[in-house]
């Protein structure tokens, strides 16, 4: 296990360098930078602009800036946000927390519903329930995240503000609440975003579960299990389900990327203060270090998620072990 972990972590290094360098290059290709707006302002003298340029290192060549930034990242210093005038690290920490909560909650929501529905639907193949739920899954897969988010905002506004908040991370009077009320307030604000993000994931997972079970149900080891007289319940739970869950875990790891992207959109529509919205604002105002920090943290979340999924797969599937994974 230790060898596997070290190998995977070492593999991440070129990956992260590659991704951050491309983003860095892209951001420097943009005509103008954060200071171009200030330059337009006649009340700010050229000396101050120069001073700011030197302070943020915007006058240095690209590679120097990149290496400097990377060196800072190693020391957990992600640079300075030109827009918010605080260190990127402190900004990102709070926002990433919100995004992780949103992503994890919607994943749990999707799993809790997708697995049992997928099982029921597969065991009653071609029944009316199978048809209805499969069709609904198709709808859920096809509805764009942002469109569903708009619909939910509309729904919340239509229901009135006493029911569910149509957007935001917490209420205006959040700071005056007690701890329990704060948590309740947060959860209240998360219900709609989690629903929106969960629906898309749930639909895909349900279809995967259904096709997995249908495939495994007809395999030979299941027939053997039946032939040796196991009760149907044991056949389903011990043989069919356990095998059907494996691709699920792999898929969960890889669906993290979609989840982060979807979360960014939902955050933008519902004004949830997460990593995606932070990145969006940073991109809009060409706040280069904030963009870099957000992309980096997003990538790390994804990589760590994939790693966790692989470890979980080893734990669940005895046919897979760390040595076979490392050699892949």
């Amino acid at each position: 296990m230790a060898r596997f972990l070290i190998r995977r972590l070492l593999n991440m290094i070129p990956l992260i360098i590659g991704i951050t360098f491309i983003s860095f290059l892209a951001m420097s290709l943009v005509p103008g930078d954060y200071l171009s707006n200030l330059k337009m302002n006649p009340r700010i003298s050229p000396e101050i602009i120069h001073q700011l340029q030197a302070q943020f290192g915007l006058d240095k060549p690209l590679l120097v800036r990149y290496v400097k930034w990377l060196w800072g990242v190693i020391h957990l210093d992600f640079g300075y946000s030109l827009q918010y005038r605080v260190s990127v690290t402190s900004l990102i920490a709070a926002r990433a927390f919100n995004t992780v909560i949103l992503a994890v909650a919607s994943m749990v929501f999707a799993w809790i519903l997708a697995i049992p529905i997928g099982i029921v639907v597969a065991l009653r193949q071609n029944s009316i329930w199978d048809r209805i739920l499969s069709f609904l899954a198709f709808l859920g897969m096809s509805v764009p995240n942002f469109f569903l988010a708009f619909l939910m905002v509309y729904f919340a506004m239509w229901m009135g503000k006493d029911w569910l908040p149509p957007g935001g991370t917490f209420s205006v009077d959040y700071n005056s609440l007690t701890l329990m009320n704060r948590i309740a307030d947060r959860i209240n604000h998360l219900i709609l975003p989690v629903f929106v993000l969960g629906v898309a994931g749930m639909a895909g997972l349900m279809r995967l579960m259904r096709s997995q079970i249908l495939e495994i149900k007809n395999s030979e080891f299941v027939r053997t299990a039946r032939a040796k007289g196991l009760p149907e319940r044991v056949v389903i739970y011990k043989h069919v389900l356990r095998n059907a869950l494996n691709p699920f875990i792999t898929m969960a790891g890889y669906s993290l990327g979609d989840l982060l992207g979807g979360a960014a959109l939902v955050e933008a529509v519902m004004n949830l203060q997460g990593l995606g919205l932070l990145l969006l604002n940073a991109v809009r105002s060409l706040d280069i270090y904030l963009v870099m920090g957000s992309v980096l943290i997003g990538t790390m979340l994804l990589l760590v998620g994939n790693l966790l999924a692989d470890i979980a797969l080893v734990a669940v599937d005895p046919r897979v072990d760390f040595s076979s994974m490392a050699s892949q």
Binding site: P14, L15, G18, I19, I22, S23, A26, M27, L29, V30, P31, F138, L139, M141, S142, V143, P144, F146, F147, F150, L151, V153, Y154, M157, W158, P166, G167, R207, L208, S211, Q212, L214, E215, G257, L260, G261, G262, A264, L265, A268, V269, G276, L279, L280, V283, R284, L286, V291, S294, V295, G298, T299, L301, L302, L303, N306
Partner: protein
């Protein structure tokens, strides 16, 4: 010319070309109702894109300043004696409260709607007395006309994107599988980098590169290029894996043993067996492009005003107040939804027809 005749290639050809050979009429009969509806839906949207000036009743950027945020108007059928004026008519709407932007019908007048008139499918005598099938936006532009013109962007982005990413994916995948060695290794590591990207974050960061001053067409192409750049890698990996596995399949070896030339084996055996998968994958990857463009345009980083796209038409809904007062501004979202769903249904159906080996 003719290869040594055995039953093996013929069986193989029948298995591969079977679904296509029956012709389109047979395919249509075999398709389920949902698939037929999807195809019709897509054909209509592509017609929108191809003949926007005909389907759109008005100029998509003409601003009727006296009618911003006008609700969709109700269509009435004329009495047969009035059909000389127009088969359909509507009451003109007048703004009663400029603050609330509420409208009331003027029941003393009628606006007649002319079919196939002045080069439009339907239109009224003037843009001053319009018929807003789906309402108007905040600047008094006809939403339906903007949706029809927006189909140009939203429907083309998928096709062009798939074209680019597939030619890249197939070329690189085939090269990687064929050359092998260090090249193969480097290309595959690179594709791994691209696949483990948080693609939407990356898309956002790259979209900032697009300079503000360029034309709508250039902007469109840049957006498609960026999205293709992000999405070709997964395909290249699969094509590489498939072409190398097909190469050693018994029927390909049989073809080789029978003296088939390399060209013949590639065109008659390898490509057909990969093609089914490629068509399915292409159909199923189109929604990703459409959604990517819509999301970027919605966030203001994609297609810019006044050029309409289904994504940037939705950006008015970002203000919840607008959403509640003028819910018809969500209609473009329904078009995106229908398109994505149609491609999903079609792709699913094609997978059953062309690629029976995969169940999911």
């Amino acid at each position: 010319m003719s290869a040594p005749v055995t039953t093996l290639p013929r069986l193989q050809a029948a298995a591969v070309a079977g679904p296509i050979r029956g012709g389109l009429a047979r395919e249509w009969r075999l398709a389920s109702r949902t698939v037929r509806a999807s195809v019709i839906c897509l054909v209509v949207f592509y017609l929108f894109a191809a003949f926007s000036p005909f389907f759109a009743p008005y100029d998509p950027i003409y601003q009727n300043r006296s009618m911003p945020d006008c609700p969709p108007m109700r269509l009435h059928l004329s009495a047969p004696s009035q059909w000389g004026y127009g088969v359909f008519w509507t009451y003109p709407l007048h703004m009663v409260d400029a603050e609330e932007r509420s409208y009331a019908p003027d029941r003393n007048h009628r606006i007649y709607i002319h079919l196939f008139s002045r080069g439009h499918l339907f239109t009224t005598d003037s843009e001053q007395a319009p018929f807003y099938l789906m309402g108007s936006d905040g600047l008094g532009r006809d939403l339906f006309s903007r949706i029809v013109y927006g189909a140009r962007v939203s429907m083309c982005v998928g096709l062009i994107g798939v074209l680019i990413s597939f030619s890249l994916g197939i070329a690189v995948g085939a090269l990687s599988g064929y050359v092998g060695g260090l090249t193969d290794n480097l290309i595959m590591r690179w594709s791994e980098i691209e696949m483990s990207l948080p693609s939407f974050y990356f898309l956002l960061a790259l979209a900032a590169v697009i300079p503000p001053g360029i034309s709508a067409a250039q902007r469109f192409l840049l957006i498609v290029a960026i999205m293709s750049f992000i999405s070709w890698a997964g395909l290249a990996r699969v094509i590489r894996g498939m072409s190398s596995s097909v190469r050693s399949l018994p029927y390909v070896e049989a073809g080789r043993a029978l003296g088939g030339s390399r060209w013949r084996i590639i065109t008659r055996h390898v490509i057909p067996s990969v093609l089914g998968y490629a068509i399915v994958a292409a159909t199923l990857s189109i929604p990703g492009f459409i959604l990517g463009e819509s999301a970027l345009s919605l966030l203001g980083l994609g297609i810019q005003e006044p050029t309409p796209s289904w994504g940037n038409l939705l950006s008015q809904a970002e203000d919840p107040q607008n959403l509640v007062r003028y819910p018809w501004i969500l209609i473009p979202g329904i078009f995106i939804f229908l398109t994505v769903m149609a491609f999903n249904f079609l792709g699913d159906h094609l997978r059953d027809r062309l690629d029976p080996s995969s169940s999911f």
